[in-house]
């Protein structure tokens, strides 16, 4: 049994956080989320289209007993993100927040300056802030210092499925963080998730790789196992990497 994760005093048995976007329908989404074992799922907020209402996204998530993590997607600066956060708190009755600010829709790179500004203000307003950010060790330290409950550095660009491209920087972030590190974005395969967990990430956030799989429900299982496996490996000490061969069997030299 792995150690449990605590964020802002809340205990999590699962270290796999999930997004709710891009699933073929809400029935598949609910089944996949349940199968993943996730206890925290993100969602976005948008203006209601009065004459063309969306499916109720909340009911399948709440019915499955999963905690809500609204995001500020669509915010291009700190002011918009703070407004989105306040709307999310009013709409969903939670002060947990995935803070994300990306001014450029092409690469969806998080804006570090606006994110730090918004994080500081939102913490002051009582939000539990989990900021999506670059894998920048200095930025992550600043976000921690202004009171973020965790940091969520990217593995690779959102939806790119490129894996842990930011490896060298994530290692530094994990080494010096005093809040949980959740690797968010870019995780495209269970092996990427396992790798992040083996490195010592406290959790991963996965959306596209599960939702866009041929069978999202089975892929959710694959990610659940990968995250558990990676964490177990981290907790139990991976053997050191060597350049030179080190024999696993005794070299008895019986042929001499």
């Amino acid at each position: 049994m792995s150690e449990r994760l605590t964020i802002a005093g809340k205990l999590f048995s699962s270290r796999l956080f999930t997004g709710t976007g891009k699933f073929p329908n809400s029935n598949v989404m609910q089944k996949a989320l349940i199968e993943s074992g996730t206890e925290l799922s993100t969602m976005a907020l948008k203006r209601v289209e009065v004459n063309n209402p969306e499916d109720n996204i909340l009911k399948p998530i709440v019915d499955a007993g999963i905690n809500l993590l609204p995001n500020t997607s669509g915010a291009k600066n700190a002011r918009e993100a703070i407004f989105a956060a306040q709307l999310a708190r009013e709409a969903l009755g939670t002060n947990w927040l995935k803070l994300e600010i990306h001014p450029d829709p092409k690469y969806l790179m998080p804006d570090p300056i606006e994110t730090l500004k918004a994080a500081e203000e939102l913490v002051r307003q009582g939000f539990i802030v989990l900021p999506y950010c670059h894998a920048d060790p200095v930025l992550c330290k600043h976000l921690e210092e202004v009171g973020c409950a965790a940091v969520m550095p990217l593995g690779a660009p959102i939806g790119s499925n490129k894996g842990i491209a930011s490896r060298d920087f994530l290692e530094i972030i994990i080494d010096q963080a005093r809040v949980p590190v959740v690797v968010d974005a870019g995780i495209g395969a269970p092996s990427h998730a396992a790798f992040a967990m083996e490195m010592g990430a406290d959790a991963v956030l996965v959306n596209t790789a599960i939702a866009a799989a041929r069978n999202p429900i089975a892929m959710a299982t694959a990610f659940k196992l990968a995250v558990q496996s990676g964490r177990l490996a981290y907790e139990n000490g991976l053997a050191p990497v060597n350049t030179q061969a080190v024999a696993s069997s005794p070299l008895t030299a019986f042929l001499d």
């Binding site: 203006r47 909340l58 809500l68 997607s73 407004f83 709409a91």
Partner: protein, 70 residues
């Protein structure tokens, strides 16, 4: 003074009676507001105030809901 006023809900115009509160407007026009948050002039109006907040001619309501996202 006319008893009818024009308001906008997320860019859709409604011609309604002046007497409406936010709450009674949603009730009469059967707008589902479960899990929604509301803002007017970029100020959030808490749900608890919807019963008492009246509507004036030309006002715009922005109503937001949760949707799927990562």
């Amino acid at each position: 003074m006319s008893n009818l006023i024009t308001i906008e809900l997320n860019t859709v115009a409604y011609r309604i009676e002046r007497i409406h509160s936010i709450h009674s407007f949603f009730s009469q026009y059967k707008v589902d507001t479960q899990g929604c948050a509301l803002a007017m002039n970029n100020q959030i109006i808490p749900r608890a105030e919807w019963q008492t907040r009246g509507l004036s001619d030309g006002e715009s309501i922005s109503l937001f809901q949760a949707i799927a996202g990562g």
